[in-house]
């Protein structure tokens, strides 16, 4: 027998709603019972003074407080596991809201839940009334002639009551979610603050992961392809040096291959060095930059001014970004500002700011929004909360200034 999908979905939803309601009932009625006990004790003291009562009354107060805080976690579980609503962890913060929910609003909701479950049970009982009657001994049926009419009415009523249960249960669950979110949820600003915290953390993780990946690629290339290429160039060099009696055509081919191999090494070296130079990890930014400046195709003046009394080195992620900025900037100068005759790289550390300035006397007109290289540069600077400024009037000079925060 197959159940039609709509009915099956409705049944699944009803089961979930009823489970949520039943779990809510136990959690909401606990404080209600507590209140009831306290009220009874208080009334008892008023009408029939008993020397023990104040003591017992004093003991109930901590119970109320425990309930006010302790019921939050079970409620979070109920919302999360039974209807997929995530409430924040509150622990001891926001005591007022927790107490309001568990001790005042909760019991009211508990009553609604009680009514709903009572309706469900009554509906079930009433709609099965004919079965009950059939189970009782026959003499009763003989004594109450005409019972079937009444029983039929009751059955119809029961079925009608049952028919209203899914809608009521759905409504109650929606109401509970509204109330729960409003009272136990977080305010918008709290939520945003938390989100910012999470994002900051995950972004730092992403930046570090990308750095680690670059290191790994650098290492793999160094241990693999680069050694092979050097070995290839070396063997071609040996061939050139030893095979002197070859015909000139063959010599030309070997010469060309030798040159190609050396160019490939050079190209790969520059590429890998742009990724993440090993010296950056070992000796830091200052040492790594001179390699960049020396390989630039135009004269570069490099000034690195890092106070020697820094408590510790700049964070690796920030150093990597600073290095990347200089590397990209010098590449851009070489690529787009061929008329430039000189460039200047200045790196200074001032308090908690690392400032990197690259200037060249090229023709200017660089557009940070257009060039993909500059865009990537700005993105990487932003990934560590840095600021990126560029001035490049047509006619030059071009100046790029990057400030990276390095918290002490």
């Amino acid at each position: 027998m197959t159940v039609p999908p709509r009915l099956r979905r409705a049944l699944v939803r009803l089961r979930r709603d009823i489970a949520f309601t039943a779990a809510g009932l136990t959690l909401h009625l606990l404080p209600l019972l507590l209140h009831f006990w306290v009220v009874m004790l208080a009334l008892g003291t008023a009408f029939d003074p008993d020397p023990d009562t104040p003591v017992v009354l004093a003991c109930t107060l901590p119970l109320e407080i425990v309930a006010g805080w302790g019921l939050t976690e079970p409620q979070r579980w109920r919302f999360r596991a039974l209807c997929g609503v995530e409430l924040p962890r509150l622990r001891f913060r926001e005591a007022k809201r927790q107490f309001a929910y568990h001790l005042l609003i909760g019991p009211l909701l508990g009553l609604l839940e009680l009514l709903l479950l009572a309706l469900l049970v009554a509906g079930l009982a009433a709609s099965l009334v004919l079965v009950w009657i059939w189970l009782v001994p026959a003499p009763w049926r003989i004594a109450h002639v005409g019972y079937t009419t009444t029983a039929s009415y009751v059955t119809v009523l029961g079925l009608a009551a049952l028919a209203t249960v899914p809608a009521l249960a759905g409504g109650l669950v929606r109401l509970e979610i509204l109330v729960g979110r409003a009272v136990l949820g977080v305010s918008r600003s709290d939520e945003l603050a938390r989100r910012v915290e999470d994002l900051t953390e995950s972004r730092a993780g992403a930046v570090d992961a990308a750095d680690a990946e670059r290191r790994r690629i650098e290492r793999d290339l160094h241990d693999g392809a680069q050694q092979r290429l050097v070995s290839l160039a070396l063997n071609l060099g040996l061939a050139r040096a030893t095979l002197t009696d070859l015909p000139p055509e063959a010599r030309q081919v070997i010469d060309a291959a030798h040159r190609e191999a050396k160019d490939a090494i050079e190209e790969l070296n520059n590429l890998v060095r742009g990724l993440h130079p090993a010296v950056l990890d070992e000796l830091g930014l200052d040492a790594a930059l001179s390699g960049l400046a020396a390989r630039a195709p135009l004269p570069v003046r490099l000034r690195v001014d890092l106070p020697p009394d820094l408590p510790r080195r700049t964070a690796p992620a920030v150093e990597a970004v600073a290095y990347f900025v200089v590397s990209e900037a010098l590449t851009n100068v070489a690529k787009h500002a061929r008329e430039a005759t000189r460039a200047e790289v200045t790196v200074t550390r001032l308090g908690e700011i690392l400032r990197v300035v690259i200037a060249d006397d090229g023709p200017g007109g660089a557009d940070p929004s257009g060039g993909s290289g500059l865009k990537g540069l700005a993105q990487r600077v932003r990934s560590v909360d840095g600021t990126f400024r560029m001035s490049s009037p047509v006619g030059g000079p071009t100046m790029m200034s990057v400030e990276l925060p390095c918290p002490m």
Binding site: G237, K262, A287
Partner: protein, 212 residues
């Protein structure tokens, strides 16, 4: 003696070194082995790769420094995928004689590499042009600015550790022209005149901020 962790390259290096007329007494795959072998064989010259197991950072440089301190008779030629002036400064700080620091790819230019090998073995210096370029970047101010382009070329070649004849061959000029350039440079930089090649290299390196 040769220390290089890439077996492929080690084989090639042995060939080149033997072609230069040296005898390879031992090979090593990491820095520890290198030190042990130097202790045992006392070679005249060790050719060392910078990045070796276990850490793959600057083991070669550190091993070279301890060799130069412990066995002054053993000259060291360091090869590296990338040259860093900071390591050059470390290497030259104690003793500029018998030290070489070249880019790995230079071994492909067999004749030039052999020339550098011989220079280091004879107690001279061989610095990669890249290192010298980096040193000049650091000193891109002051008196160096006053040199002509040709003089700067000669200064760089001097810093690499080349002799007058070597510089003349490289620039395709006569040795007397080189000598004239050198005198001008020494005068402009306020460096003492020295007859011996090596003393002159020392002065130049000292001027560039490395070497004792």
């Amino acid at each position: 003696m040769i220390a290089e962790d890439s077996v492929l390259l080690r084989v090639g290096l042995v060939k080149v070194v033997e072609m230069a007329g040296f005898e390879v007494v031992a090979e090593a795959g990491d820095a520890q082995e290198l030190l042990a072998v130097v202790e045992e064989h006392r070679p005249d010259l060790a050719v060392v790769d910078v990045r070796m197991p276990p850490g793959f950072t600057d083991e070669g440089v550190r091993a070279a420094l301890s060799i130069r301190r412990g066995h002054p008779a053993t000259k060291v030629l360091i090869l590296s995928q990338y040259v860093e002036e900071r390591y050059a400064a470390d290497l030259l700080a104690t003793n500029t004689s018998g030290v070489g620091y070249l880019l790995k790819q230079r071994v492909a230019d067999v004749e030039e590499f052999i020339e550098a090998l011989r220079r280091v073995a004879a107690g001279g210096t061989a610095l990669d042009p890249q290192v010298v370029a980096q040193l000049l970047v650091r000193r891109a101010s002051d008196p160096v600015e006053r040199l002509t382009a040709r003089e700067r070329e000669v200064l760089a070649l001097m810093a690499e550790g080349r002799s007058n004849a070597g510089i003349a061959a490289q620039l395709v000029v006569s040795e007397s022209a080189v000598a004239k350039h050198i005198n001008n440079i020494l005068a402009k930089l306020d460096l003492p005149k020295a007859d011996a090649d090596h003393r002159r290299v020392l002065a130049v390196l000292h001027f560039l901020g490395v070497g004792g």
